[in-house]
Symmetry: C2
Subunit: 144 residues, 2 copies
């Protein structure tokens, strides 16, 4: 099963981005209003500067208090981001997300972002796929 | 596969709690320092008053700004919590977490909390179990 198939189910869902100079408070408003767990930081909506998650915000809020909300997003975002390709398998992507402990991964075509998938999307796809394979194998055994 | 088996792997991991009267800022410090996504609100560490997640904090922060950090935890926590029992199947629990869109579920014995499991724990267990079942079925087919 490929990343491609997850993207298809989200067809038309634009990736939410904020510019690197917006404040953390502005990014938090976006996370809250759009009911999402992370936002991509990008100047043009295509090339990625970083990602800011609700986890990043709460971690820093706990360390430094509300002052951090006035900082520019680019000072708090994670900029070393792993991306995947449409042709990657969901199994491999899930392993990378679990190992690296991140919940979101941009889907890239060269250096242009074409989508964003969450660990929830990938898990849902993997569980459905494994259950289907199991049913097919059980069917084969019963058919013998 | 049962919830019991997930709890076993986390043996000794105490559930982190805060009292209902602590401020949201104090709870955020706990989330940040303990590197956890949600904290159980409880007077005695056994009976549950509610749960506060990093998502709850970011949502409210986006709506109201940093003033919400001074509120008592009990005004922001989710108090209608679904729990599970040690004897519940991981399959059923994962379905309930996915349907209800929550990432944490306390494990109860009567009205006393005996553990806390995250959707990450359950997913890991389910994926391992399904992969094992698939391998066993493939083994049976090859053995025919």
């Amino acid at each position: 099963m490929l990343v491609q198939e997850i993207l298809k189910e989200r067809a038309g869902a634009a990736v939410v981005t904020v510019p690197p100079g917006s404040t953390v408070a502005e990014a938090v408003e976006v996370l809250s209003a759009r009911r999402i767990g992370a936002v991509i930081v990008s100047r043009d909506g295509k090339r990625i500067a970083g990602i800011l998650s609700e986890r990043d915000v709460v971690r820093e809020l706990g360390r430094r208090g509300p002052d951090c909300l006035n900082d520019p997003v680019e000072s708090m975002m994670t900029s070393a981001i792993q991306g995947c390709a449409r042709e990657d398998s969901t199994e491999e992507v899930l392993q990378r997300m679990t190992d690296g402990r991140f919940r979101h991964m941009p889907v890239m075509e060269g250096d242009v972002m074409v989508g964003l998938i969450s660990i929830g999307d990938v898990v849902k796809a993997r569980l459905a796929h494994l259950a289907m394979e199991k049913d097919a194998l059980e069917g084969m055994i019963k058919g013998f």
